[in-house]
């Protein structure tokens, strides 16, 4: 060894090359080991959240809410306190903290320090659920005053199925409005920019939900106002609107009648809200999950919960798969079906969702046999931390995370989830994102040039209930 080292001294270039090579090998080795670690952490998250949305008879201390799946057994949890502590930041960051608490609440882990922190998250989610319902009621009243009937998607529309109001984190209020009413609706909600606590994600019809949007939503709204109404968009709206269902907004309070908002007697969340039918909702959740790279476990819990609440075992014939796959060309409908089956398969394999009723459907094969790369990729996402600092690192790390997420890459280019290599999809996604590069560079330069002092960062955060909720208000894509 020494002799080799001495020999290299006579060839400085060779020595430097060898040293660089060994550094690269070391880094690759560390990279591989990190990916394995992330997958292992992701696996623990998956174990903790298995069936976390269920209200098992043994663990329940409240009656199930309307629509939530009943009688499902929650598997025994084999997680040590140290392992729970390890995944605690991941749970808090991804919005799965309350679901984690629900799962451990009747186990010895509930009394651990990590359990205490998860309990705090749950308490916070409970209160934010009440505030969120108030916000929805207020925003709906603004739109209805203009004669606009919106459809609420994701968020509360799926949260109402959980056995407890505090299990799911709330982000924006996703509302879809008729395409030819979009300009009017966005004008009606303009006042919310000056009112604390309301964050509405307004969608022009249904066709663009779940697609990646530019970060500047005001710019997007201005652009959408100018866009000519497409007849196809109108047709899609009419079709989905006709199938939509109306549910009472205060539904979640039925099981806990003591819960109430006492601030303004007139502002108690009452009335009704229009949501998508189950078939359309399942498609929307599946597409949204994959387009977002399956990064957050609660989104897959949503799918698991919806699938179980549909109760395929006894109602398989009632479910309209032809509606679920959506309209459009055969190619689009088949792709949708592939994505929906993939998502249900993920919910089954990673979170133990009961899919027994799907055995006789056209999706059975796909649900049972997922592409070999898919589960490790999702677990790796769940086990990875995201950079929180408001610096240029955010842009750089988001660039890497895009490359690092084959699920997102496949969905971004409308690919099929199969066993083929993912490299072409990753490259294609980067190419499709090239037009964004100049704007990202500008924002990168801006971050370096105009970095506000910490006090300004704090004051820039939303006031009112939103400020209190900011820590876990999730950034929706």
């Amino acid at each position: 060894m020494c002799q080799t080292a001495n020999a290299f001294k006579n060839f400085p270039l060779l020595e430097s090359c060898t040293s660089k090579l060994s550094q690269v090998i070391h880094k690759v080795g560390r990279g591989v080991s990190r990916i394995r670690d992330r997958q292992e952490l992701g696996l623990r998250v998956s174990e903790l959240l298995t069936g976390a949305w269920r209200d098992s008879a043994q663990t329940s201390n409240q009656g199930p809410r309307a629509g939530s799946p009943r009688g499902m057994v929650v598997p025994v949890l084999n997680l040590s306190e140290a392992e729970l502590t390890d995944i605690l930041p991941l749970l808090c960051e991804s919005g799965a903290g309350a679901l984690g608490w629900w799962r451990i609440r009747n186990t010895p882990l509930a009394n651990s320090a990590a359990g205490g922190q998860l309990h705090e998250v749950y308490r916070r989610h409970r209160l934010s659920a009440l505030i969120h319902e108030r916000e929805i009621a207020y925003v709906l009243s603004l739109l209805r005053a203009e004669g606009i009937e919106p459809v609420l998607v994701k968020g509360w529309a799926i949260a109402r199925l959980y056995p407890d109001a505090g299990l799911r984190p709330y982000g924006d209020i996703d509302l879809c409005v008729r395409p030819d009413q979009f300009a009017q609706a966005s004008a009606a909600l303009e006042c919310l920019e000056e009112i604390d606590g309301h964050q509405v994600d307004l969608h022009c019809g249904f066709t663009r939900i779940g697609q990646t949007k530019p970060q500047d939503s005001r710019w997007e709204i201005r652009r959408l106002r100018r866009v000519r109404i497409n007849q196809d968009d109108m047709d899609v709206w009419d079709e989905l609107f006709d199938r939509s269902q109306v549910v009472p907004l205060a539904e979640s309070k039925v099981q806990s009648p003591k819960s109430k908002v006492m601030s303004e007697p007139g502002a108690v969340a009452t009335g009704f809200v229009r949501i998508l039918c189950d078939e359309d909702h399942l498609r929307l959740l599946s597409l949204h999950l994959l387009r977002s790279g399956a990064r957050r476990p609660p989104w897959l819990c949503d799918v698991g919960l919806l699938v179980e609440s549909l109760n395929f075992a006894s109602r398989a014939k009632d479910f309209r798969w032809d509606v679920c796959r959506g309209q459009g060309s055969d190619r689009t409908a088949n792709r949708n079906l592939n994505w929906i089956a993939t998502t249900i398969g993920l919910a089954h394999h990673l979170l133990g969702a009961d899919v027994s009723g799907i055995a006789n459907t056209i999706l059975a094969e796909r649900v049972r046999n997922l592409p070999h790369w898919l589960m490790p990729a999702v677990l790796s996402q769940w086990g990875g931390r995201r950079v929180q600092s408001p610096t240029s690192m955010t842009s750089l790390s988001s660039l890497y995370s895009r490359w690092d997420n084959p699920v997102r890459a496949t969905a971004a280019v409308g690919g099929q989830f199969n066993n083929w290599p993912r490299l072409p999809y990753r490259v294609a996604e980067l190419v499709t994102r090239l037009p964004e590069v100049p704007r990202q560079l500008v924002s990168l330069v801006e971050q370096f040039a105009v970095r506000p002092p910490p006090s300004e960062v704090r004051s820039g955060s939303p006031a009112g209930p939103a400020r209190w909720l900011t820590d876990f208000r999730l950034t929706e894509e």
């Binding site: 819960s259 006492m262 929180q388």
Partner: protein, 163 residues
Amino acid sequence: MERITREHFPRMRKRGLVIDDVPDEVLVYDLDRQTAHCLNRTAALVWRSCDGKTSAPEIARRLKGALDAPCNEELVWMALDQLDRLHLLEQSGSVPAQFSRLSRRQLIRNFGLAAAVALPVVTSIVAPTAVQAATCQPSGNPCVPSKLCCSPLGCDVPNGKCF
């Protein structure tokens, strides 16, 4: 000693609050101050009894029946003191001076350990952010003696970072 008057008949605040009953505790969000609190069963029972007509001894009697544990007036005043300081009562300063700032230790000393189970506790809810929740150092963070690297990570000694 301050005389207990009609002003000392506490009344719970109702406006500007979001209240949620969960098993064994009550969650309260103060819309005016943007703070959230968690009331344990004893504190919640005391708070719910504050209708502006019921005196502390009467609340203590009710509490004794509900909790099946030794309760007295001091315990009720202790709860009221906490509720008052968190602006959950209508009239601020409605707790007589002799009962304000009663400590738990003092109460347990006076009434024995049996009183500990019935102690009123009002805590502020602060959900941990991901960074706060990290009791161990994730990958890439420096190894420090106070925080171990999260398992199965180890400390890369030359770089001084967990990997």
